[in-house]
Amino acid sequence: TESQRNEGEVLTMYEQWLVENGKNYNGLGEKERRFKIFKDNLKRIEEHNSDPNRSYERGLNKFSDLTADEFQASYLGGKMEKKSLSDVAERYQYKEGDV
């Protein structure tokens, strides 16, 4: 687990992850900042996956060095307004005994 790994091992993981995901940070201090986020996300993943009663697995992916705010700003864009739900139809209204 992340807690059992030393900093160097996690950094090696991160370097490999950067290559696999085609990412490259040139900004001053940007890579270090991203590495810290990566470590936090890795910890969250491994804590979750260590629960024997979990119903789902978490894992590293291309979002793994983004903060929650960055992820939400870039990848979620659904807008929901009650006025858009005014055309409720009976077509798929479930009735007892439907086959």
Binding site: N41, R44, I45, H48, R54, S55, Y56, E57, R58, G59, L60, N61, K62, F63, S64, L66, A68, F71, Q72, S74, Y75, L76, G77, G78, K79, M80, E81, S84, L85, S86, D87, V88, A89, E90, R91, Y92, Q93, Y94, D98, V99
Partner: protein, 250 residues
């Protein structure tokens, strides 16, 4: 109702899981996915449709390109616009320039719909019935799903309000993890189960897990109103006309 539905097995889902990139265009992908599905169900032809047309051209309602939107308004746009072109001719760039190029697309190949309707809200049984008939666009609360990898998601999320537009393409029951909705996402095939999410179904709140039953919408398309001049339909029509002419000449 069937115990399991998977529209992928019936050819109503484009096999390649699409990738929205760093653009809040989930609504466009949910919309095209739903229209691709109902078009295949009514015409038998699966055509991958253009999200970029929606991003660039659907700017008048409540859709704002990469800044977000909803499939419900995209359906309205597609109906008013007289259809939507394929992504073969209007490919995805993920760029939000609002420069609509659809008018330059010299093609008669558009997929049309007659409009859209809303599934009775906060009712997972009605949603189940709807999914048994066609893929359904829904909003889910997905802020905590960035690192989902596999299994039936039962983690933290808002059960009242969705922030991400996705497409339900089926449902089923896992022996270990219980009932689930099969959801097609637009974060590429590397995310989740090959680009798909299984989300807890038959939740104890009427809104559904992660608000899945709060805003379910679908496009409607009747057989008779198809304006799809697809190559196979076109060939059949041409063959038929030629045969009629041949018979007349004989």
């Amino acid at each position: 109702l069937p115990d399991e539905v998977d529209w992928r097995e019936r050819g109503a889902v484009v096999p390649r899981v699409k990738r929205q990139g760093e653009c809040g265009s989930c609504w466009a992908f949910a919309a095209t996915g739903a229209v691709e599905g109902i078009n295949q169900i009514t015409t038998g032809e699966l055509v991958s449709l253009s999200e970029q047309e929606l991003i660039d051209c659907d700017r008048g309602n409540d859709n704002f390109g990469c800044a977000g939107g909803g499939a419900v308004w995209a359906f309205e746009f597609i109906k008013e616009n007289g259809g939507i072109v394929s992504d073969e001719v209007y490919g995805y760039t993920g760029e939000d320039t609002a420069a609509c190029k659809a008018i330059e697309m010299k093609t008669t190949r558009v997929v049309t719909i007659n409009g859209h309707e809303v599934v009775p809200v906060n009712d997972e049984m009605s949603l189940k019935k709807a999914v048994a008939y066609q893929p359904i666009s829904v909003m889910i609360s997905a802020a905590n799903m960035s690192d989902y990898k596999s299994g039936v998601y039962k983690g933290a999320c808002s059960n009242l309000w969705g922030d991400h537009n996705v497409l339900i393409v089926g449902y089923g029951t896992s022996s270990d993890e219980g009932d689930y909705w099969l959801i097609r996402n637009s974060w590429g095939p590397e995310w989740g189960e090959g680009g798909y999410l299984r989300l807890q179904r038959n939740f104890h709140e009427p809104t559904g897990k992660c608000a899945v039953a709060v805003a379910p919408v679908y496009p409607i398309k009747s057989n008779s109103s198809s304006h799809l001049l697809s190559p196979s339909v076109f060939k059949l029509v041409v063959l038929f006309v030629f045969q009629l002419i041949s018979l007349a000449l004989l």
